[in-house]
Symmetry: C2
Subunit: 150 residues, 2 copies
DNA sequence: TGCGATTGCATCGCGTACGATTATTTTGGC
DNA sequence: GCCAAAATAATCGTACGCGATGCAATCGCA
């Protein structure tokens, strides 16, 4: 006599096994961690990322920033306008190509880098990881992102 | 004679080294991958996560779902109302404790599980990872999230 | 049994994300 | 030089996230 068939339907996917959910929820957890640190700088998290790209290299177009952050102008334009209103950057059409808008740090925006330097160490400490472990995980996830966006 | 001091300010943090940015951008990349798959189910990504929790166990409160997904009622309430309007779930006050709202799958919501079963294999394939690699990464990131929200 | 504290959900406002579309400028083929 | 095609931002609508607040139901304890 064969074993009785289970009368229940086969189980659905388990939430805890979802790589995407792990990323999704960890990303939100990072956001909550950053919030109080960035509040002191008057920045949101995406705005902070824009500042990081401009601190690395100033005077970039909307498209260049978007390429770095994997964001489109529909997200960036209003965000950059808020940063302009906050006095952190200037936005102006490139005279050589009027289609492009160039972003430049104001003195205030440049000066904010000093206060921002203490953010990454705080964050690394909160992860409970060594610098090497963090680097390894960052690389794995970066490779995954590259694969996903092919 | 000592070497000349570099006249440039010390470099700011490098975007590519940010663990949080890797998570942030990989999470968005996952979202873009899921979009066309979930469009066929008529779900957004957070709505899909709610369905996964209900497929695992039906008849849960808003608070229980939020605990699973790390979301609050200010996010869930409007999201669940849209799912109710789409005919996937029912929302009703618990007679035993009128503060709580219980979510139950409709027949249509339960039936959607069959179509949803082919989503996870598609996604795993797009990651280019083996099941073991995906599990390992999921565990590492899950542990990170736990540390961060501690 | 009152009644203040707590719990659970909802509401509001703001800032992303992103698909779809539009407007303007530049480029390339002829 | 002209004009279609491409490039670049901006705009619009929808759906999250989340801090702050509101409100009703329940609990705890004197």
């Amino acid at each position: 006599m064969p074993a009785a068939q289970p009368p229940l339907p086969p189980p659905g996917p388990k939430l805890s096994e979802f790589l995407c959910f792990a990323l999704y929820s960890a990303s939100h957890a990072f956001n909550r961690l950053y919030k109080p640190l960035l509040d002191e700088l008057g920045l949101t998290y995406p705005q902070y990322l824009v500042m990081v790209t401009l601190w690395e290299r100033d005077d970039r177009t909307v498209g260049e920033i978007g390429e770095q952050l994997f964001l489109e102008s529909n997200t960036l334009t209003p965000l950059l306008k808020r940063m302009e209103a906050a006095g952190l950057v200037s936005r102006s059409r490139d005279p050589a190509d009027e289609r492009q808008v160039r972003l430049r740090l104001t003195d205030e925006g440049r000066a904010l880098l000093d206060k921002a330097r203490r953010v990454p160490p705080c964050v690394l400490e909160a992860t409970g990881l060594t610098a090497d472990e963090a680097r390894s995980l960052t690389d794995q996830i970066g490779a995954l992102r590259t694969t996903l966006s092919r």
